[in-house]
């Protein structure tokens, strides 16, 4: 399971921006955090790297989304390295 922290920038048109925010909220793998103006903070939980990349691409195609930036990435805890 991969987890990413993203900042999604919404467009200036309020209606399109609200529809975009609703679409992101409704999509399965996203958890919404606080919103700052035109920016949504989002956690994306995907099954693996490939799924994460596909959902990231999906975000970019949502009408009303200007761009998405990656702030944080976490890899699958099942792959945790044993220091000992």
């Amino acid at each position: 399971m991969n987890v990413s922290g993203l900042v999604v920038t919404l467009c200036g048109d309020p209606d399109r921006a609200e529809r975009a925010a609703a679409a992101v909220a409704a999509a399965g793998p996203f958890t919404l955090g606080p919103r700052l103006g035109s920016r949504l903070t989002v956690a994306l939980e995907a099954a693996d790297d490939r799924a994460g990349a596909e959902w990231f691409d999906w975000l970019g195609r949502v009408d009303g989304v200007v761009k998405a930036d990656v702030a944080f990435v976490h890899f699958d805890p099942g792959e945790e390295v044993d220091h000992a």
Binding site: G5, G33, P34, G37, A43, F72, H83
Partner: protein, 806 residues
């Protein structure tokens, strides 16, 4: 122990990181909204403030705690230092508490194996050992000690055992900055603060790599550029780094070239009549080396100074430094321009240097000579690597020659003052300087019958088995000496605990109360938030417990003049609280506060007044001196500057009130270029340089246990230039052997990797416990600061084998 909900923790961390980035992006817009300080809502969790556990920047974090576990970390948007930003290490700082192999019980080595024992036995063992030979005992601590941890050890050793063998690992990181400040201004620590980053027109980096080592501070410079401000960055380096990628001018110098560069700038200022004559006449005297050389040298005239600089024309300095004449002239012209504000920053490149004091003196000198001093954005500022090298080591005096409050053991007036404040009999403090770090470990690793006059060393909060130079000589030699006893208080097994005879499990970061002091004189406080695991206990408690056991064993030094225990603490009814018993340590009295307030009295002696504990509780740190004015506690952004520093006499403008020459003036030094003790030759034709990487904190004991950081940088490597690699037939990933006169190491090569070395230069980061680069380094040190030079020794490189196919 209940399972940590990893998913919830990670999701919360992801949202916190996104929030910080979103805030910054919003701030870049034309209409900047006021910062919002709300934190993510995590059901059942409470947020608390703390400074980050890692570097000397001193970022403030908010820590979310739920069910006695840290569940999230966010940058603190109310903090001046970082304004909500964190670096990649800071975002993961909460995870350092939860490595699988935390030490949880005292361990004693019996027949080669570490076996669990009780705390009572461990404390008694240490006390008996000290009692048997108190003069042969030494304490080795850290710039990661909290203020009270360091202060308690200093009091225990110097006021209790009359023993000055207390040293910190900060001897290895900022001792040259200390001697540089003391011999220039008469007192330690930067006069300025991080506000300079927001005002400088030109920033000169003297051998440091802030893009990786102080990334949050570096981002303040880059952010200004994103706001279309003109900030010229000059990277004076021995190899190109991530910092170089942002620099306007990258000037790759030869190792030790900095001495010639600084003197050349001074030469140009004087030769061209471009120095600030009025400033120099009003505020400075000139100083040069005495014979033999001493820290404070001797007075020289301006004419003598000018004559000494004659060997540093751009043409001559070019040969010594490796910079071109054009580059040297550019630097000279910059300093001659009074209209520009110039900030010089430095860290290990200048401090870990066999002429570390000298180069610190010289960088101060070019600023004083040119008048680039005393205004926001205009001055020299050293940066510290550790979170409390300033607050603990430099300010509480955990050095073999020092006392709290910048006092010195060799000064009878200083000893008298300290004895009064500690309420111990006159003569209790030993007047002889103890062993500095390199000497301490050399003595410990030398057989007793061959002059090894230390047989017990207690290490707290540091990892000398990985961080000391020339490890075979200064650490590993202990293995064959049966009568030497090593005590290590730590949180994880390390290269040091491998040779320990007694291992004590310690609390880490927010598992205890603490106070830290960062690079810009900012004292920061936090409370304990989560319990330590198993039987781990605070390092300060361990020190007090041993002191009390010594009291029970009738060591006279554990009593003060009134016959009371050195660490006596009473409650509101004046009843003694037995804080040496763990069950009482977080009980009726706040031990941290009591010791801090006792220490605070020392800080008033040399105008380094720190804020009261009760005030720090409500702040994101305050920069000393902090004085009360009209009912409010006010911090000081710029020392020695009228209008900022409350101790500066009105009308003086600038007053160096602890001046070496006792006339309120600073010293402009001349110190010559002197070759390093080991340079490349026919047998060892390459320079070896060592340092750090963004992802890991120092020896990696904490960060290598954070999976994300370990995955990002899993192993050490040796950076090799493309030219050297080509000559040897080496490609990235190939195994190579690096040899010096002290040892050898086989590790993978990285050709033109993250850092790009010039031909003849190698670089190895020191975070990897499985690849100890300090087997190779040299313990030669600055004659005044005693700080070793990790940046320059002679090495050779050979190919071992190509990497395996994936």
């Amino acid at each position: 122990m209940p399972e940590l909900n990893r998913r919830e923790f990670v999701r919360s961390s992801a949202l916190a990181a996104a929030l910080a980035l979103a805030q910054r992006q919003e701030a870049e817009g034309a209409d900047v909204p006021p910062p919002r300080t709300e934190l993510p809502v995590i059901s059942g969790a409470k947020w608390h403030k703390a400074p980050c556990r890692f570097c000397g920047t001193g970022c403030h974090v908010q820590v979310a705690v739920k069910d006695k576990k840290v569940v999230a970390v966010a940058g603190d948007r109310q903090a001046d230092v970082n304004k909500g930003m964190l670096c990649v290490k800071g975002y993961h700082v909460g995870q350092i508490l939860y490595g699988k192999d935390r030490l949880t019980t005292p361990l004693l080595r019996k027949k080669g194996e570490l076996v669990p024992i009780k705390w009572e036995e461990a404390i008694d063992l240490i006390a008996q050992r000290i009692l048997k030979a108190p003069a042969r005992f030494a304490f080795y601590g850290s710039g990661q000690w909290t203020v009270t941890e360091g202060y308690a050890v200093n009091k225990f050793m110097k006021a209790g055992l009359s023993n000055n063998n207390v040293e910190p690992n900060a001897r290895l990181c900022m001792a040259s900055a200390v001697t540089g400040y003391v011999s220039t201004f008469g007192v330690d620590e930067p006069y300025n603060c991080y506000d300079d980053l927001d005002h400088a027109d030109v920033v000169i980096l003297w051998g440091n790599n802030p893009a990786e080592m102080h990334p949050v501070l570096f981002s303040r410079l880059i952010d200004r550029r994103m706001r279309k401000e003109k900030v010229t960055l000059i990277d004076l380096c021995t190899r190109r780094t991530r910092t170089s990628e942002q620099a306007d001018h990258v000037m790759v110098m030869q190792p030790q070239g900095d001495l010639a560069i600084a003197n050349c700038i001074a030469y140009q200022l004087v030769h061209d009549g471009a120095y600030d004559k009025a400033f120099v006449e009003k505020h400075c005297n000139f100083r040069g080396d005495a014979k033999p050389r001493t820290l404070l040298g001797k007075p020289i005239t301006f004419e003598e100074y000018k004559k000494a600089l004659a060997d540093y024309t751009p043409e001559k300095a070019s040969k010594l430094s490796g910079l071109s004449v054009k580059e040297l002239k550019l630097l000279g012209e910059l300093f001659a321009d009074r209209k520009k504000k110039i900030l010089s920053l430095w860290c290990m490149g200048m401090n870990q240097h066999t002429q570390g004091t000298a180069i610190n003196n010289l960088v101060h000198a070019v600023h004083l000579l040119s008048g680039h001093f005393g205004k926001p954005g205009d001055g020299p500022q050293s940066l510290t690597g550790q979170p409390s090298a300033c607050g603990t080591v430099r300010e509480t005096g955990t050095l073999c020659h020092a006392l709290p409050g910048d006092l010195k053991v060799e000064d009878p007036e200083h000893r008298k003052k300290a004895e009064e404040l500690w309420n111990v009999p006159a003569g209790r403090i030993n007047d002889k300087i103890g062993h500095h770090t390199v000497l301490m470990w050399e003595k410990f690793c030398t057989p007793t019958d061959k002059g090894g006059d230390l047989d017990t060393v207690w290490v707290q909060v540091t990892n000398p088995g990985q961080s000391l130079p020339n490890l075979n000589k200064l650490f590993r030699a202990k293995k064959d000496l049966a009568d030497k006893f090593l005590i290590v208080s730590d949180v994880y097994p390390t290269a040091t605990t491998e040779l320990a005879d007694l291992v004590l499990p310690s609390s880490l970061w927010v598992e205890k109360r603490g106070v830290y002091g960062n690079s810009e004189r900012r004292t920061q406080q936090w409370f304990e938030m989560v319990p330590p695991p198993g039987e781990a206990r605070d390092d300060c408690w361990q020190t007090i417990a041993v002191a009390h056991r010594l009291l029970e064993l009738k060591h006279p030094g554990m009593k003060d003049k009134d016959g009371h225990f050195l660490f006596r603490m009473t409650d509101d009814r004046k009843q003694e609280v037995e804080v040496w018993k763990w069950e009482n340590y977080y009980g009726k009295v706040n031990v941290d506060e009591r010791l801090y307030e006792e220490y605070r009295q020392f800080t008033k002696i040399k105008h380094k007044d720190v804020a009261p504990y009760s005030v720090l509780v409500n702040e994101r740190g305050l920069r000393w001196p902090v004085v009360e004015d009209d009912g409010k506690w006010k911090e000081t952004r710029y020392r020695f500057v009228e209008g900022h520093d409350p101790f500066v006499k009105k009308g003086t403008g600038l007053q160096f009130y602890h001046s070496v020459t006792k006339d309120d003036k600073a010293l402009i030094w001349f110190r010559p270029w002197i070759a390093p003790p080991e340079m490349p030759d026919r047998d060892y034709p390459l320079w070896l340089d060592t340092g750090r990487v963004l992802e890991h904190w120092h020896t990696g004991t904490m960060t290598m246990r954070v999976p994300q950081l370990r995955r990002a940088m899993p192993r050490a490597y040796v950076e090799v230039s493309r030219d050297d690699a080509s000559e040897l037939g080496v490609r990235t990933g190939d195994l190579v052997k690096v040899q010096t006169r002290r040892g050898e190491l086989t590790l993978p090569a990285w050709v033109d990797g993250r850092g790009k070395c010039p031909k003849g230069h190698l670089f190895i980061p020191f975070f990897d416990e499985s690849l100890l680069c300090n087997l190779l380094t040299l313990e030669a040190h600055c004659p005044f600061s005693k700080q070793p030079d990790y940046k320059k020794c002679a090495a050779r490189l050979s190919k071992v084998s190509p990497r395996r196919k994936e």
